[in-house]
């Protein structure tokens, strides 16, 4: 690992200042993605800014019909939260399926969403559950957030502060996990809201996405039968050593039906 300056501010305003005054800074959350990247020398930032001591980035609270999860809340805390489980069990289940217990004790929701790994789990929740990404500058709608492979709408100097999830009537997450890493070869979130059904797929494309034809069918009837015959176009999906695009397209359908079957 290359040397760097390490900062551990206790206020968000100081993070902004350090970001502005450093040559090539990086935010450090749980470090579960960033530190392996530094160890492999795939990145060599001049400054690391540790977000762990900023009090208002931590914790989970409920506000009217939303649950608000601070960016620095670790996966284990989301998985074990009674508040999250009562609000949306699918979200707690998803967090409990990330990696392994030691990874879940360090990795954070903000870090995962900012990193936008195509095989990460949280992006399926952000899109499928219609979340809003709150930053130090603005609120970003989920549909505008994931813009490509490891790419997001975050501007340089922008810090995710919290994720806001509205309450679904019911939701389910199903994942075909990579047996070694735990990442999603494919993961599918389905959710029913008052007016509309939503569905999001992670692991299959360059970034998580919503298959709109499926959502329309599910809005008409929230049953596995409603999506019978619908397909995903493999040309728009990823092929790699783990799975071909055609295989991913098929697994996504199986998982979607399984998820709907579990709640309808």
């Amino acid at each position: 690992m290359q040397p760097f300056n390490y900062h551990r501010p206790t206020e968000l305003a100081d993070v902004v200042k350090i970001l502005a005054n450093s040559e090539d800074p990086k935010l450090l959350a749980g470090g579960m993605t960033l530190l392996p990247t530094l160890k492999q020398r795939l990145a060599a930032p001049s400054d690391l800014i540790d977000l762990s001591r900023i009090p208002n980035l931590q914790g989970i609270c409920e506000d009217k019909n939303e649950i608000i999860i601070g960016a620095m809340t670790c996966h284990a805390d989301v998985a074990a939260s009674d508040m999250v489980r009562a609000f949306c069990p699918a979200l707690a289940d998803l967090a409990g399926q990330i990696g392994d217990p030691a990874v879940r004790h360090r990795g954070t929701i903000g870090g995962s969403v900012a990193n936008a790994d195509p095989a990460a789990d949280y992006p399926a929740a952000v899109l499928g559950l219609n979340a809003t990404i709150e930053t130090n500058q603005r609120r970003i709608k989920n549909d505008d957030f994931f813009t490509g492979l490891f790419e997001t709408a975050l501007e340089p100097g922008e810090i995710i502060t919290a994720l806001r999830f509205p309450r679904p009537k019911r939701a389910q997450y199903q994942k075909f996990r990579h047996p070694a890493s735990g990442y999603a070869v494919v993961g599918v979130m389905v959710a029913q809201f008052d007016a509309k059904a939503r569905m999001a797929i992670t692991g299959a494309g360059p970034n998580a996405f919503r298959p709109h034809a499926f959502e329309e069918a599910l809005t008409g009837s929230f049953t596995a039968k409603a999506i019978e015959g619908l397909t995903l176009d493999p040309d728009e999906l990823l092929s790699d050593m783990h799975a071909s695009a055609a295989y991913r397209a098929h697994v996504a359908l199986v998982l979607a039906k399984r998820a709907i079957g579990l709640i309808s």
Binding site: Y6, R8, K39, L48, D100, P101, A102, V103, A180
Partner: protein, 156 residues
């Protein structure tokens, strides 16, 4: 950078490089070589320690991130009088190790599982061990040991 932390009950202050990993700090600077480095890529769990009572992989943390923390390593798990921790005792009883390389991490993760999930069943324990790799035992003795310690913790 100067850091102060408590390791196995002892207060320690050191001046270290910011890019020093916690696992290397424990092994090289403090000579606590019970914490093993098996993969250095966050996969194997040999380097697991307890940071503020939670199992974490010390190969994927900077030592400076642990400033102010309470850390327990495998060296500090047994009681002050040398009495083995129930998970250590159960590993001996159930033959939960062969070469012993994965064992510090397995025991530290086992203690974390027993704390969080007393009375956990076999499937849960196997799922919880997803981040710990053993090249020798086939896991059977490890799972039996943690199940035994876990049911004792629940008073089953």
């Amino acid at each position: 950078m100067n850091i102060s932390l408590t390791i196995n009950g002892e207060k320690i202050t050191r001046d270290i490089a910011t890019n020093l990993l916690l696992a290397d700090f424990l092994r090289d600077n403090l000579r606590l070589t019970g914490t093993h480095v098996g993969c250095d890529t966050t996969q194997c769990g040999c380097c697991i320690i307890h940071l503020n009572n939670k199992a974490v992989k010390s190969c994927t943390m900077l030592a400076v991130q642990a400033d102010g923390a309470q850390i327990t390593t495998i060296e500090g798990l047994a009681g002050a009088n040398g009495a083995l921790h129930p998970v250590q005792e159960a590993f001996r009883e159930h033959h939960g190790l062969q070469c012993g390389f994965c064992t510090p991490g397995m025991v530290m993760m086992g203690a974390d599982i027993v704390r969080r999930l007393p009375g956990a069943d076999e499937a849960t324990i196997r799922h919880q061990l997803e981040g710990n790799i053993c090249r020798c035992t086939g896991y059977q003795g490890i799972v039996e040991a943690i199940m035994d310690a876990s049911s004792q913790a629940k008073g089953i």
